[in-house]
Amino acid sequence: MGKKEAFEKMSEAVQEGDTETLTSAINDVINDTDPLEIIQAGMMPGLKKVGEAFGAGEIFLPEMLMATEAFQEGMKVIEPKLLETGQEVKSAGKVVFGTVITDIHEIGKNIVITLMQTHGFKVNDLGANVSPTTFVNEAEKANADIIAMSSLMTTTMTYQRDVINYLNERGLRDKYIALVGGGPVNAEWAEQIGADGTSDSAVGAVQIAEKLIAQKKGGAS
């Protein structure tokens, strides 16, 4: 199988969430192809198409989850080669993402994380019931660009403010982009607590993340 054909197969396999076909296509070319090229030319185009289809409402979370699962399985095949060559996958930005303390609702967070991954973000999912110190310590460890906080209830969204206050207390507020989201969260709340942005939708959240990362890195807004 030629490289071009293998890359097309990988892209399709990612879109269909077909781990078996994906890993087989990767194995076909891995010994004589740059691992970064496999990711960029083979797997990422498929993931990007999945993200676009989700944004257009053509597919839903299950299809997107299956695609990212397949992508991650594919990465497991490629990672030893990356280590061997000392290469690193360039990400659109590093994110630590969690549902705030006392709140164990995860679906909103999981949707945004999955969509972010299709857009090339490297996301560290902290899970639910995440304390302010955990958010900040994990962001420090990961050298993250973004701290993203989800909350489903009016009584838990107050803990988004605690994370931002804790960043201020540690003198780290300017180091991170702070995004908030969830059922009751709106722009008024985001502004009130000093967050950098929020969105009603997963697509909007990714757009804001991209825009703020570009601004942070001095690119176009």
């Binding site: 006392t102 679906i107 009584t155 838990t156 969260v185």
Partner: protein, 458 residues
């Protein structure tokens, strides 16, 4: 029906797995199989399902799906499962009526059928949130709506200048005060026995719910307590603790769930099955005596989108025809309060529910994202539509929705924010402010002129 103690035992002994495996390896594949096996298809030719055979297949699919998937317990990482025989026995044994309130205000919520001439159950007020200073007046304004059989009381977000926080003492205080304001508001409206069926809305934890439910603060077993899952088909010991307490007290328990269209349930077909499966989870795990569903579209954060309307109509009919349990539905409008678009969306939602066999409640303005974003006018409107449209058939509803939906469908993504209650409604005199009064009068006139629905202001 399987005893609740046995359910608790299964929570501690059922198959163990991670949440991620439950979502990806169990829930999603089982739902896909059920959609295919039972041939569940939304052909987009109608907004309100009119196919009884399809409604029945959705019920069969839900039984099959739920027997395979069960309910995930986050604390134990185990799954409670039931056989199809156990599920069908529970359906047979499930309460068909729920009694709320006391004295002259006592009422019954029953299951209805599609195209039913029975008056839809009219409930108002669910899920609103407010400040402490507005809470009492708001409850009184809800309780003044005479056609409302029961009310919900708002979530209190602040105690004075302090914002309430889940799990903190502020939440316990807010939960207790919300019940005290609820009872007092009903007394002030002259309806002291009115049932409040969303206890304890200000509490997100079991401890706050149980603390605030102590009878000295005003809660009665003839009220109702909503016990919510996590998306999708997951619960925890905090929720099961609430059920344990309420079951021991003999109080009404409401199963509530808001499946996300676009989330784990996927599209409209999946949401129709999951909506229905939640009622099975409700009677078996939560021991529900009544049921509330509030599906929502992930992208538009509202329920007035045709995909959600169809999924809700189909699952409502599946439940009505095969379970006959007391059932009502909360839907969300994208447009905020005191806007023309809100009333268009609300009318579409309510007509679909009435024709499909559900009880109704006020459609939430502004995606329920705005503190003090609901008004008593929305609630009054709901009851008016419920009374004016009893007996509406699904075919008639479809004809009306064909005219209503084009009024708002292209504006869902950029819906107007609307106003807060204090901006458009006078809580001292319990009436809309002049600009809202004018808008509402025009809305009623348009609905009468265009659709022949004559809404009387109570």
């Amino acid at each position: 029906m399987v005893n609740f103690i046995d359910v608790i035992d299964r929570a501690a002994t059922g198959p163990m797995m991670s949440q991620k495996d439950f979502d990806i390896k169990v829930f999603i594949p089982a739902l896909r199989r059920a959609i295919k096996k039972y041939d569940i298809k939304f052909d987009r030719k109608e907004f309100v399902n009119t196919d009884d055979a399809l409604a029945d297949r959705i019920f069969e699919a839900a039984v099959d799906f739920y027997s395979e998937v069960g309910t995930y317990i986050t604390d134990t990482e185990r799954v409670i499962r039931f056989t199809q025989a156990e599920i069908m026995e529970a359906v047979e044994d499930a309460p068909r009526e729920a009694y709320f309130g006391e004295g002259p205000d006592r009422c019954v919520m029953k299951g209805r059928m599609p195209d039913d001439n029975e008056l839809p159950y009219c409930h108002v007020g669910s899920g609103t949130n407010t400040t402490e200073e507005n809470a009492l007046r708001l409850v009184e304004s809800y309780a003044r709506i005479s056609k409302a059989k029961t009310i919900s009381i708002p979530i209190i977000n602040t105690l004075g200048h302090i914002r309430t926080a889940a799990g903190a003492p502020t939440e316990v205080f807010a939960a207790i005060r919300s019940i005290q304001y609820g009872r007092e508001g009903c007394r002030r409206a002259g309806r002291p026995g009115l049932g409040i069926i969303d206890h304890v809305s200000s509490a997100s934890t079991g401890v706050s719910t149980i603390a605030a439910s102590a009878p000295q603060f005003g809660a009665r077993p003839s009220d109702g307590w909503l016990v919510a899952p996590f998306a999708e088909l997951k619960t925890d010991y905090s929720s099961l603790n609430q059920t344990a307490y309420l079951t021991a007290w003999g109080a009404n328990i409401g199963q509530e769930a808001g499946p996300l269209l676009g989330g784990y349930a996927g599209g409209p077909e999946g949401v129709a099955i999951v909506n229905t499966a939640y009622s099975l989870h409700g009677i078996l795990v939560i021991r529900a005596t009544y049921h509330l569903i509030y599906p929502i579209h992930m992208t538009y954060v509202c329920s007035s989108h045709p995909d959600v309307l169809w999924a809700t109509s189909a699952s409502t009919q599946a439940i009505a025809r095969n379970m006959k349990v007391p059932y009502y539905t909360l839907l969300y409008a994208a447009a905020g309060a005191a806007t023309k678009m809100y009333f268009d969306e609300a009318l579409a939602c309510l007509l679909m529910l009435i024709a499909s066999g559900s009880g109704i409640e006020d459609v939430h303005p502004g995606k329920a994202k705005i503190t003090d974003g609901c008004t008593p006018v929305d609630m009054d409107f709901t009851c008016q539509v419920g009374h004016a449209c009893r007996g509406l058939t699904r075919k008639e509803a479809n004809r009306l929705l064909e005219k209503i939906i084009p009024k708002y469908i292209d504006k869902l993504a950029e819906a107007p924010a609307g106003e807060k209650v204090n901006e458009c409604y006078d809580l001292d005199y319990f009436k809309p402010k002049p600009h809202f009064e004018k808008l509402y009068t025009e809305v009623l006139k348009e609905i009468k002129g265009e659709f022949g629905i004559d809404l009387v202001r109570f």
